[in-house]
């Protein structure tokens, strides 16, 4: 089916476009881009006063299927993504069973085709069972559709294993993503270690638990001449190490989440378990460093680390509650309101970090760009529309989001995947 998007402000950092253009879509691909396209199509989208961007890609989500469908499914996660302005989402392997074999990867790929409304890109485990001992069959997994490898919340502690994974990834030109955490340093911690953890009497997770692993990974990636992606950057020291590594042309990239930018450790005064996340919400000083790293290019992409948990799972003692924030439906409005509308970063840079760079890092050749022949994935934004975050309106199965009640300006109003409008829902 043909589709015509008219009069939008088209911004594509990949091809350096920022202009009012019409886009013709045919058979799921971009067929034409011109200042004025006049042709008979079954549907025309009037994008006047709206921004048309290449479809946003979230490199870091947890979709819970297979195994924990009561928290989220491929379908509900994809609906949340569509509403949140994401046309593609990559999902971490900590499902049950773990995505460490072709069976699970193929299940996710085929089920997503049947049920999901956005592209779902599986990230497979680095090691079998995420146990950190034995590498998975990375070539087979890549053939089955794995776009990257990560042990995520059970990070590889053994440096020799990480070294081998980095070396082997070169064969596949695949990306290793690491949740950087020395689990001996973080021990049983539940929040950022520092003044506030001492004040609130909660066990701390020191900044060093992240920073030591960031440093290790940079050293290993340099030696292996391989690519390493640092998940959810949270502390000043990590940002500084990545900045230096980039200046030495080491192949390191990094991502940041909304919660690590817009919330801090002192917010935990309420003991609200919706603020319990790993890495934990850090200090004001860390947040300032992350903003600086965002502006100077040390941080490459935005990611949500969407981690759905049920209300009952979160309605318990802070120490015992699971880590994680449900983020797909609030990320884009938060970034637009807090960063773009406040001129901390430009709209172009925001789009680059939400689409262009994630596509490049994950090797998605036909995504993250608005060019003739590319996939017709779009995120359409209204920079002036205001919303009040309401967790009760979520598409996600879970509600664990600490931004409930926040007033934000700038929202995704339409998501197109393969030439099909997936949001607003029809």
């Amino acid at each position: 089916m043909k589709l015509l998007i008219k009069n939008g402000r088209v911004i594509d950092p990949y091809s350096k476009i920022d202009d009012t253009l019409d886009i013709l879509i045919d058979k799921g691909k971009i067929a034409d881009i011109k200042s004025r396209i006049e042709t008979e199509v079954p549907k025309i989208i009037d994008a006047s006063r709206l921004v048309v961007a290449p479809g946003f890609i979230d490199m870091h989500t947890h979709l819970r299927e297979p195994g924990q469908e009561y928290k989220e499914t491929l379908r509900t996660g994809s609906l949340a993504a569509a509403k949140g302005g994401f046309s593609s989402i990559a999902c971490m392997p900590n499902t049950n069973p773990v995505n460490d074999n072709q069976g699970v990867t193929e299940y996710i790929v085929s089920e997503s085709k049947k049920k999901a409304v956005v592209n779902i890109l599986p990230i497979a485990a680095i090691t079998k069972g995420q146990k950190g001992e034995e590498l998975t069959d990375m070539a087979d997994l890549t053939n089955s559709g794995a776009v990257a490898f990560s042990d995520d919340g059970h990070p590889v502690q053994n440096s020799q294993i990480m070294r081998r994974a980095l070396e082997y990834s070169k064969l596949l030109d695949s990306l290793i993503i690491d949740h950087c955490e020395d689990i001996n340093l973080s021990c049983d911690g539940v929040m950022n270690e520092g003044y506030y953890s001492y004040l609130f009497g909660l066990k701390g997770i020191p900044a060093s638990s992240e920073e030591t692993m960031v440093a290790r990974n940079i050293i290993l990636a340099e030696k292996a001449d391989a690519r390493i992606h640092i998940a959810h950057l949270s502390v000043k020291g990590s940002a500084e190490r990545i900045r230096i590594a980039k200046s030495k042309n080491i192949k390191v990239s990094s991502e940041v989440t909304p919660h690590h930018l817009f919330l801090i450790d002192s917010d935990l005064e309420s003991y609200d378990t919706n603020l319990k996340v790993n890495p934990p919400l850090r200090s004001k000083d860390d947040v300032q460093s992350l903003i600086k790293a965002l502006k100077d290019g040390t941080i490459d992409v935005f990611a949500t680390d969407h981690a759905p948990h049920t209300i009952d799972e979160k309605s318990i003692e802070f120490d015992n509650a699971p880590f994680g924030i449900n983020g797909l439906e609030t990320a884009v409005p938060l970034f637009l309101d807090k960063l773009v509308n406040k001129n901390i970063i430009s709209l172009q840079r925001f789009i680059q970090m939400s689409s262009t760079t994630p596509a490049k890092l994950l090797g998605l050749e036909n995504k993250g760009k608005i060019c003739i022949g590319a996939d017709a994935d779009f995120t359409i934004l209204n920079l002036n529309k205001k919303i009040v975050v309401d967790i009760n309106q979520f598409q996600s199965k879970s509600r664990n989001n600490p931004f409930h009640g926040w007033k934000l300006k700038g929202v995704p109003v339409m998501t197109i995947v393969g030439g099909k409008i997936v949001f607003p829902f029809s």
Partner: protein
């Protein structure tokens, strides 16, 4: 001075005036426990629950006696928090208790913030009897009461707290209270148990016992737990004892009329030498006695206040 709190979640959330009100109220209750008939009808008809998810003899019986001496009805629940995790959730347990129209729930739990969490959904008054490493407000209040008996004023008083400050809710509540009342506080512990961030609470820190105890008016010892050594916060109990035990020699560096306090239970000859624990300088048993008056005051102020209805 009216007392308008519904809950007692921690010293952090009290004003100096409210602290004085509690201490003055306790003063008036002290005498009841010395009567032949140790009972007044003040809280007759009120129901109080002791909900303890952690072992306790002192605090639990102190609250129980306090409630009984005010004629309130009290029920004890001793639950192992780990079995609760597997079975009924804390929230369901508390909602069930509240459904029995209890007026106050006294809670002790190994997780910080549990009293706050309970106060978000429970209509009964919540009294914190110790939450994780966070707060133990009635301990700090009874300590303050005991100090005031001996020292009359908190202003400028040098109070040293020695031991496992990092993992101590007693230390935290005492720091908050003593700072609010104008005392000087020095914390003494091995560096792994005394992070520099504690200084932001307005206290001084010292790793050296001999230096830190110099001219102290009040010495508070904390219980040291074997588990800390297993986690390498210090190398051995033997070395801890050598460096941080309160001995006569170290005590001699404090002021002549200094008093020795300990929240109990004490490890004799570990953090404190047995002879000092039993000496006239020790007010350890006085603390226990005063604990009942403080807890009577808390129950009275939270449950018995005349304009309770309007302050909810």
């Amino acid at each position: 001075m009216p007392f308008n709190q519904k809950n007692l979640l921690g010293i952090q959330y009290l004003s100096p005036d409210e602290i004085i009100t509690i201490l003055d109220t306790a003063e008036s209750f002290l005498e009841i426990s010395k009567r032949e008939v140790k009972k007044v009808p003040t809280l007759r008809g009120k129901t109080v629950v002791n909900l303890f998810f952690e072992a306790s003899t002192r605090t639990r019986s102190s609250f129980e006696l306090a409630a009984k001496r005010l004629s309130a009805d009290i029920v004890n629940f001793n639950l192992n928090s780990s079995s609760v995790i597997k079975g009924e959730s804390l929230k369901d347990t508390v909602l069930n208790l509240a459904a029995m129209n209890t007026d106050a729930i006294i809670v002790r739990h190994s997780c910080a913030g549990v009293p706050h969490f309970m106060s978000t959904f429970c209509k009964s008054s919540i009294i914190n009897a110790g939450d994780g490493f966070h707060e133990h407000p009635t301990q700090a209040l009874l300590d303050a009461f005991t100090i005031r008996e001996r020292k009359k004023s908190f202003e400028g008083l040098k109070t040293v707290i020695i031991g496992d400050v990092l993992h101590s809710r007693v230390a935290r509540s005492n720091i908050f209270l003593l700072k609010k009342m104008g005392a000087n506080v020095v914390l003494i512990a091995p560096p792994p148990l005394l992070p520099p961030e504690f200084k932001s609470l307005g206290v001084n820190i010292d790793f050296n016992f001999e230096r830190g105890i110099e001219d102290a008016d009040v010495i508070m010892m904390l219980r040291i737990q074997l588990e800390r050594q297993q986690r390498n916060f210090f190398p051995s109990i033997r070395e801890y004892r050598n460096l941080y035990q309160l001995t006569k020699k170290r005590f001699a560096r404090a002021k002549k009329n200094a008093i020795i306090m300990h929240p109990g239970p004490i490890n004799r000859d570990v953090e404190i030498s047995a002879d000092l624990a039993d000496s006239v300088k020790s007010v350890i048993l006085k603390q226990v006695e005063n604990g009942i008056a403080i807890r009577m005051a808390i129950l009275y102020l939270l449950l018995g206040g005349k304009d309770r209805e309007t302050t909810n």
